[in-house]
């Protein structure tokens, strides 16, 4: 299904312009080759990245656009995701639904996803059909019909998606309010799927404008991983994409989060059975950090708290004090804007969210007061290194990594540094970032406060901005 990915981490600020502007006609087409990954920039500014992998006669193709939830302004939230749905609704060449049909007939699987910083379309298919995928993707990059009839049906599908994924899921609703409360002006405060009211008022002209603004070769990256030859992919890519006209891609305004002046709390009271807690500290990401060492230290800290069953949270909160049924730490270092380091938990039965919060803070305080042991650090590093081997088992995952790094402006080569940078992190650096960023005034806490379910029927508007149709 057309899906969107909610990255648990979010973020703030700024990388403005330079990342998003490719200057057409100034760069020669030159193949950059490093390791197994090869890349090329077409004259129209489109980037092509290929990773050869011959283990099976199949290929993953992904077309990534630098647009997503964090690009949206108030009133049109969710539009990137709605446009993602509409990308299957036809061009002159390929009527609505035909894209999926053709790929399926050729034994392919295809779909798309929207996140905060990107929108991506993918096919997994026998390698002999790579050209078919490229031709179809090139067609819909510039020639989408965006018919109003199709839109009026599809927007209802998206609303159903919102009801399914957010409105009827107490923990998802809690996350939505958590992000909305954590950030004042960082665009990660808005839900990727959009507020229901915005979906209700969205029209086809909004979609046309969004498509015209962002869908152009100089705002796109083609990633191909699989049993292919890079030179062939490059020449096919030229054949289908090079003739597409670049557009003037707007420069993003800075969205640096305004200073937070103290702890922020929000409660979500909905029909539910078990309480849930999410806490988040404002942190930089690789794109925004003054010192990238801090970012890798935060990444390692996440592993220390929640990397496997030997991690501190499992050891101390699930098994030790038994205050948590489950507890996790999340941090995403590859984002456009500043982000949140999140800590979430389902308390054990009879344990309040307040107790849970104190217990998590205690774990943080321990690291602030005492650097982690070398043994702990080594264990996290061993897992990171082994995972870097395991993840090569999935071509799709490899393509995802390339696409994310390209769309957030870091470049695919950044992934090659990851293991080395993690291995370089010291216990003192971990302690330092815990001290620097995990401070109460930068904290946001959201709690799910369960309300009775049995025999209760809520009025239509009780769960969110009205479910009525605007028109």
């Amino acid at each position: 299904m057309r899906t969107y990915i909610v990255l648990i981490a979010a973020a703030t600020v700024v990388i403005g312009l330079t990342l998003f502007v490719f200057i057409a006609d100034q760069q020669p087409e030159e193949v950059v080759s490093e390791g197994e990954v090869q890349s090329l920039e077409l004259k129209n500014g489109m980037k092509v990245v290929v990773q050869e992998n011959r283990r099976a006669p199949v290929v993953v193709t992904q077309v990534w656009y630098r647009v997503g939830g964090s690009y949206e302004r108030a009133g049109i939230t969710g539009i990137s995701h709605v446009l993602e749905h509409m990308m299957f609704k036809g061009t002159e060449e390929m009527p609505a639904g035909k894209f999926s049909e053709v790929i399926a007939e050729h034994g392919g699987r295809e779909n798309a996803f929207t996140s905060k910083d990107y929108t991506a379309y993918f096919q997994r298919i026998s390698n002999e059909h790579l050209e078919l995928c490229l031709s179809l993707e090139a067609d819909r990059m510039r020639n989408l019909l965006l018919s109003e009839d199709e839109f009026l049906k599809e927007i209802e599908v998206v609303k159903e998606e919102r009801r399914l994924r957010t409105d009827d899921k107490p923990t998802s609703l809690t996350y939505e309010r958590f992000y909305a409360s954590a950030f004042a002006n960082n665009p990660y405060r808005k839900p990727i799927i959009g507020w229901m009211e915005d979906l209700n008022s969205m029209d086809i002209d909004d979609l046309r404008e969004w498509y015209q603004t962002w869908y152009a070769p100089n705002n796109a990256i083609l990633v191909v991983v699989g049993d292919v030859r890079a030179e062939e992919v490059f020449s096919m890519a030229k054949e289908y994409f090079a003739s597409l006209k670049p557009a003037d891609i707007p420069e993003l305004k800075p969205r640096t989060e305004a200073r937070q002046y103290g702890i922020q709390r929000v409660a979500v009271k909905v029909p539910a059975k078990i309480p849930f807690l999410v806490m988040g500290y404002k942190v930089p990401v690789l794109n925004t950090a003054d010192n990238s060492e801090e970012v890798y230290a935060l990444e390692l800290l996440a592993g220390l708290l929640d990397g496997g069953n030997s991690s501190r949270f499992s050891k101390n909160l699930v098994r030790g004090s038994q205050l948590a049924t489950s507890v996790s730490a999340n941090y995403n270092l590859y984002a456009l804007h500043d982000s949140l380091f999140t800590l979430s938990a389902i308390p054990a039965s009879g344990v309040s969210t307040e107790q849970m919060e104190s217990a998590i803070i205690e774990q943080i305080t321990e690291i602030q007061q005492e650097p982690p042991t070398e043994a702990e650090l080594a264990r996290v590093k061993a897992q990171v290194v082994a995972s870097s081997v395991y993840e090569q088992d999935s071509s799709f995952y490899q393509a995802m990594k390339i696409g994310i790094l390209e769309t957030v402006g870091l470049g695919w080569a950044t992934m090659d540094e990851y293991v080395e940078r993690i291995n370089a992190v010291t216990a003192e650096q971990v302690q330092h970032v815990a001290q620097k960023y995990f401070v109460e005034d930068q904290l946001t806490v959201a709690v799910l406060v369960p309300q009775p379910i049995d025999g209760q029927t809520l009025a239509g508007d009780a769960l969110g901005a009205g479910d009525r149709h605007a028109h």
Partner: protein, 438 residues
């Protein structure tokens, strides 16, 4: 802990030494251990890793009067073994970068391992897996804790309209059959299970003759045999459990409505479907594809979602199990359009069962299934899943090689025939959870 740091450094070297490899066929090796456990093995040297899964007929269908017992037993294996606590066991796996996993639903309970194959890590990982599997201690404290966590998980199910619907659906479909019971347990059973129940369950079901093993990775046959022997040698031979009872056909149609304060109604429609070794397996699988198994190309998505915008997700499938798994159609829609969506869905099903697939859509489905087959085996982890399934359900060793030919044998007549004989349109269970159920 100097050694750990050294390991991490050595691991980096391995990570950079991976050689690409150029073939795609899977030579499936098969043998039985001296105690009668079936092993399926594929050597794959693309990456210096090993994946292994040991499956037991020890899941929810063996719960008896205590739903949740199988899941709890499985979950306790790594919570204390060979005198080591959960922390030490986890540290042993994770300090060599190994990933232990386990799980238990209705048919299969399993433990699994993903590890690097360098001998510095492999031995620790395999030995720890052997301890967890063959020498669990079932400490009382771990039992109390994991049972408490299952009770919270039970509460979590009660706030999910999807899970409430699925549970009601299985209950209606399977009545007195073990498949009727929720693998996660009931309010009552989670109050009744004792540590002695867990120990007895383990003794009875975690035995060599009840094990099926899948292995994929960068080891040769001799190494694979040695690894299997290391992991299983502590298990008594035991015996396979009695076969499950067959699933009775439904004797009437039934509609179950459960009120729930959700914006959407969750709808399940279906009846007992097919066994994993069903003679109609391929015919039913293919027959379902154009209807609701083919994603965006299926009739259900076309009618319910694309033409009418009534749902985000709608699909149908046969879930093959040891005994007849469910045939189910699943959809969610805004509560006030429940009746409309359900009528459309029923009409589509009736029409399809009466008429079958047209030539074009069947041909498209066959192309999709056969063309996409390599995609389902393009990684070690996917291959492992297939081998484990084959080993557990006693499928022939050439199952993967003959899959496409078996699919291709299904023609329009076979589809029409199997829909008529295997779907009884007058005896469907319908479950609706949501305000539309009020």
């Amino acid at each position: 802990m100097r050694t750990n740091a050294l390991w991490a450094t050595a691991l980096v070297v391995i990570a950079t030494l991976i050689v690409p490899r150029a073939h795609a066929t899977h030579q499936v090796n098969s043998w039985d251990t001296p105690d009668g456990a079936r092993v399926l093995f594929v050597e794959d040297r693309t990456l210096p890793i090993l994946d292994m899964r040991i499956v037991f007929d020890a899941a929810g269908s063996r719960d008896g009067d205590l739903p949740g017992l199988a899941m709890l037993t499985n979950g306790l294996l790594a919570e204390g073994a060979a005198g080591r606590g959960a922390q030490e066991l986890a540290e042993r796996f994770e300090s060599v970068g190994a990933q232990f996993d386990n799980g238990s639903l209705r048919d299969m309970a399993y433990v699994g391992l993903r590890t690097l194959t360098d001998e510095k890590y492999l031995g620790t990982a395999v030995n720890t897996l052997a301890e967890v599997l063959t020498r669990p201690d079932f400490p009382q404290a771990a039992f109390d804790r994991e049972l408490a966590r299952m009770k919270v998980a039970f509460q979590a199910r009660l706030q999910s309209p999807a899970e409430i619907a699925e549970e009601a659906f299985f209950k209606a479909l399977y009545a007195d059959h073990p498949y009727a019971q929720p693998p996660g347990g009931t309010r009552k059973s989670l109050e009744q299970i004792t540590l002695q129940d867990v120990e007895a369950f383990y003794q009875q079901y975690y035995v060599a003759r009840n094990a099926s093993i899948a292995i994929v990775g960068a080891v040769d046959r001799a190494q694979a045999e040695q690894i299997v022997n290391t992991v299983l040698k502590g298990l008594p031979a035991g015996s396979r459990p009695e076969p499950l009872p067959p699933v009775a056909a439904l004797d009437r149609a039934q509609t179950i409505k459960i009120n729930f304060p959700s914006k959407q109604s969750h709808i399940y429609l279906g009846q007992p479907g097919m066994r994993r070794d069903d003679p109609d397996f391929f015919a039913l699988y293919v027959a379902n594809h154009p209807f609701g198994g083919g994603g965006f190309s299926s009739r259900l998505v076309g009618t319910i979602r694309e033409d009418n915008g009534l749902a985000y997700s709608v699909s149908s499938y046969f879930s093959p199990m040891r005994e007849k798994g469910p045939f189910m159609i699943n959809m969610q829609t805004r509560a006030d359009q429940t009746d409309q969506a359900l009528s459309l869905l029923q009409a589509e099903l009736e029409k399809y069962v009466a008429q079958g697939a047209n030539r074009e859509e069947l041909e498209r489905s066959l192309s999709n299934i056969t063309g996409s087959y390599p995609l389902s085996l393009d990684s070690n982890s996917k291959l492992l899943g297939s081998l484990a399934m084959m080993a557990f359900y006693d499928l022939p060793v050439d199952y993967l090689d003959t899959y496409i030919a078996n699919v291709r044998k299904v023609d329009q007549n076979a589809v029409r025939q199997v829909l008529k004989t295997r779907i009884d349109i007058d005896k469907l269970v319908t479950v609706i959870v949501g305000n539309g159920g009020s």
